[in-house]
């Protein structure tokens, strides 16, 4: 990919997305994190038990592993055990955050298997919300409703789901069955029968097509089936060491060190098209002008970092290979589109100028989605469709370097 020149970027043709979509989503849904679970010493009532090794689904939740864990440690678990909870290097893990997000956020550099400690007593109620009965399922359902509201302005499709569909949907999420999930999820998208490119439909539609939606007082979207916002959760962690050598990063000791929030991205106006645009909106302080970089070697180093995923991450599974290939295909196709004449060229040209401004800014951080560091030029719409979790949220993990006090001119605010 050529960097530096102001390339015009076009949307990838729908048919190509069809091919990429199928492959990428399968990889995301089958993604797993290898865990090695150690029973906390205070829990052991007999001879030490060997650690438990299990592959945890990236888009699942830690408490869903409880049955297998209890079975493995049955001989040594104290009889008065309580709710299960986990910690990583002393940090209690929030169970309502998907397992893959916790791993990408808290493990700065390669660690495989991921070593966690399991507890069955002394639940830290000051830090972790209760997790009893069907709390995990309802956490998922509420997230699904929230995403539905962000995209369509209401939660009707979720609220009106039949009992049968509810049970089946949750079963598919637990089992990681993509096809079953898609069958039910298709019924949850109002007016979305054809599985078309919803962002392009939205951007290309004229205001007269839907007078109600274009009204200035309608902010949350409409029933028309064209999402106006993208559900996004962003997690920002700062480290003290160089981003090129994260092995020296200190572990996260408290959740106060991590900033995480829900930050929906509004697509109306058409000025947010890529991952870069979304990051510029969410964490603008991590972008700096290219001319301001004093060391050319730093520029080339960061440039190479964006172009090539870290070798360690490649061994995580086939996720990286498939999705990186999809990313490459998307970028290649975008280049080819420049030379071809298509009906969307005029519209695309009209939107290039607002985006071009961000080309002059360099992103000073690491972005992770589903365990990969994607190209910043990846279309946000493609990410929303293929790299989101089953609850329809994109989880952006941003790792940035803590700014030194010696550089006051670059201090935040």
């Amino acid at each position: 990919m050529v960097r530096g020149g102001k390339e015009r970027r076009k949307k990838v043709e729908e048919v190509d997305f069809g091919v990429i979509t199928g492959e990428a989503r399968k990889q995301v849904w089958s993604g797993a994190v290898p865990l090695q679970l150690h029973l906390h010493p205070s829990e052991i009532t007999a001879s030490p038990a060997p650690p438990f090794l299990i592959l945890a689904p990236r888009n699942g939740y830690l408490p869903l592993l409880e049955t297998d864990i209890r079975h493995h440690f049955a001989r040594v678990i104290p009889s008065n055990s309580d709710s299960i909870w986990f910690d990583y290097q002393g940090l209690p893990l929030k169970w309502h955050i998907p397992t893959g997000v916790l791993y990408d956020l808290l493990v700065a550099e390669f660690e495989r298997p991921w070593n966690l400690t399991v507890h069955f007593r002394a639940y830290p109620t000051e830090v972790l919300t209760l997790c009893e009965d069907e709390a995990v399922k309802w956490n998922f359902v509420n997230a699904l409703k929230e995403a539905s509201y962000v995209m369509y302005g209401n939660t009707k499709s979720i609220m009106n789901m039949s009992q049968l569909d509810q049970v089946e949907l949750w079963r598919c999420v637990i089992k990681g069955e993509l096809e079953g999930y898609d069958r039910i999820a298709a019924r949850l998208r109002p007016g979305f029968g054809g599985g078309g490119n919803w962002v392009r439909d939205f951007l290309l539609s004229s205001p007269s097509d839907d007078g109600v939606s274009s009204g200035p007082l309608l902010r949350a979207g409409s029933d028309s089936g064209r999402p106006s916002r993208v559900p996004v959760r962003v997690y920002v962690r700062t480290v003290d060491c160089d981003l090129d050598d994260l092995l020296d990063a200190a572990p996260v000791l408290s959740w106060d060190e991590v900033v995480y929030t829900t930050r929906p991205i509004d697509l109306r106006g058409g000025n947010i098209l890529t991952v870069r645009d979304a990051l510029l909106k969410m964490v603008p302080h991590l972008f700096s002008p290219t001319e301001a970089m004093e060391k050319p070697s730093t520029v080339s180093k960061e440039s190479s970092q964006f172009e090539r995923p870290k070798p360690e991450l490649e061994t995580e599974g086939t996720i990286d290979e498939g999705v990186v290939q999809a990313s490459t295909d998307a970028s290649t196709k975008a280049v080819e589109d420049v030379t071809s004449s298509s009906p969307t060229e005029t519209v695309g040209a009209g939107r290039v100028s607002p985006v071009a401004e961000s080309d002059e800014l360099e992103f000073e951080g690491i972005i992770r989605i589903q365990g990969i560091e994607p190209s910043l030029d990846l279309p946000l719409e493609w990410v929303a469709r293929n790299l989101c979790g089953p609850e329809n949220f994109i989880h952006f993990i941003v790792i940035s370097r803590r700014l030194a006090p010696q550089l006051p001119s670059r201090a935040i605010d």
């Binding site: 008065n80 929030k94 309502h96 109620t125 000051e126 830090v127 972790l128 919300t129 209760l130 069907e134 709390a135 309802w138 359902v141 509420n142 409703k145 929230e146 995403a147 509201y149 962000v150 302005g153 209401n154 939660t155 979720i158 609220m159 009106n160 789901m161 039949s162 009992q163 509810q166 109600v212 009204g215 200035p216 007082l217 309608l218 902010r219 949350a220 559900p231 962003v234 920002v236 959740w255 106060d256 900033v259 995480y260 929030t261 829900t262 930050r263 929906p264 909106k281 969410m282 964490v283 603008p284 302080h285 940035s400 935040i412 605010d413």
Partner: protein, 329 residues
Amino acid sequence: MDKLIAAVDHLVFLISVCFARSWDFTSWADELSNLLGNISIRFWENCSSIRCMAPGTWDGTLTAEEFERAALHLVSTWERCCPDLPQWTWQTSTKTVLSSTSDHACGYLVLQDVRVSSDQKDDMEKLDAYDDDDDGDDVEDHATMYVGSLGVNEQHLYTYHVVYNESYRVPMLFLQGRLQDGRPLQWDSVLRDLPVGSQHVSDQSRWTFLTQEDHPLLHRPWFALHPCGTSEIMRLVFSDFFLQGKKDNVFVSEQLEELSDISAVLEKQDTCESLSGREKITISDRSVKWDNSEERLASWIEKYILTWMSFACPAVGVAIPSRLYIESK
């Protein structure tokens, strides 16, 4: 007037029910949804006959900027009308990397340490202080329970936060309770401190009415009223406000008449009885004629949180004095 007061009572109940709509579909919820649909249809039928007065299609949401404006309006109104009560204050968020952009809420409302009398015996909280394996504390444990059984009233301290929800674009009510010695209240104790009607709704819809979740700014477990029904409720209430403006000095609007029809259906619900004792909300019998819909909406937006509190706060036992609404007209 009595008919109106009854209608308002049922409006409050209706809103509580909307808040508590369960994922599991039930027959009365189905009926309620149909009625809500009919109300919307009738509203638009009326609206289409009003020339140049339609306010557009406001969806009941706020921008972050409007949230702050409405919150500051609440603080000043409350301070002026209720100097004898605990005060709501506006707390500016500590600056973090994610709050540096201007189009996101930069603060939230706080009502600190409100005393709630509780007839509960806080045995569960006290028992937490003892290790189950420590047999030496058995005697002391029994003594504690004995003292509790004397029926001494406990004072629980509750703190309430109103935070802007970025996804639903509405205010969201968070609460946390603690004992006077500082130990936090657990789910069961908070539930038992709720008004009887809310306890009933919460039992039926545990996961969609009042839930424990991370506070979006403090990242600690707090209890929260689920916000997914708020925008629809506020849209309906605004519709009624709009109709009031149309009929100068005509107090009972068609919208409230519709609510009276609903009350006939809802009278079968047991929860109605528990709401009948709640403080009446007085509505001014004067309405001001507005020149245009934009001005009306701007005025309405300023009172958004004030209006939203009229049903959200009583649902968790926080009284909102009626004089707030008389003087804010």
